[in-house]
Symmetry: C2
Subunit: 152 residues, 2 copies
């Protein structure tokens, strides 16, 4: 029954997602951040400054949700809101000094987490793990793209 092994593997993947989420959420909480706010900060890292509209598209949430996230990040000092010179309807969101330092720290932690997870893994296991990961991610992309017609 290969199906049993598949289900066991899926269970381990699901466990991995839970543990990763717990680990990251706990880390971020120590910095006064949440996953959603970090998602915004992360996007801002590569696209500064950025209108809220652009952030809404990048994070794939409604403009209203961006208003709430930016409110929180302004309150806690990670970003600032400034009027957009080119379009007076729009608002530009920019990282503060603290925001830049934080995204840098997040970047370092990301590297460190990767090291802690994968260091010590034999090369061939790591390579096959990567191949399996690619396979699964690609299958998931297909599953998410395809069933727009037939799943309901």
């Amino acid at each position: 029954m290969p199906e049993d092994r598949w289900e066991a593997a899926l269970d381990r993947v699901l466990e991995l997602t839970v543990l990763l989420s717990q680990d990251m959420t706990a880390s971020l909480a120590q910095m006064g951040l949440t996953p959603a706010r970090v998602h915004l900060l992360w996007e801002l890292r590569s696209q500064v400054p950025c209108t809220q509209r652009a952030l809404a598209s990048a994070l794939n949430v409604t403009p209203r949700a961006i208003t709430a996230l930016v409110d929180g990040l302004v309150e806690t000092g990670f970003v600032t809101r400034e009027p957009c010179p080119a379009d007076r309807r729009a608002t530009l969101v920019t990282l503060t000094e603290q925001g830049r330092a934080t995204t840098q720290a997040l970047s370092d932690e990301h590297r460190e987490l990767a090291r802690q997870l994968f260091a010590g893994l034999p090369d061939d296991t790591f390579d096959h793990f990567g191949a399996g990961l690619d396979h699964v991610v690609n299958r998931l992309r297909v599953l998410l793209a395809g069933p727009a017609q037939g799943l309901s």
Copy 2:
């Protein structure tokens, strides 16, 4: 620089968690369910009937959160609340007919998802993928257990 490959692998793992979450959340929404409510239903599958206190421990949330989840599941017809004969303070939560049918359907979907993700993967790649998965999950367990003293 093996560190770059590690970071790339971590990024793919993170992408996997996002895609999995999206896929499952979308599937569940079609049944009128959410991940948190399914978590409770899933626990109930193996421990029926179950006091709310036991559910709180199993899901690792506060009793108050269980009250809210059970409220929603009762309203939508997946479970019932009944007085516990043995302890008049306690409430037993039981799957309804609809609840049993739904957990069965979830179980089938779980198997089907596993098949869709892993079918077609060569045996040795699958095996190494499993080994890598174990490695990473174990490292994460250590990371979550250990840093109670030193991370802040």
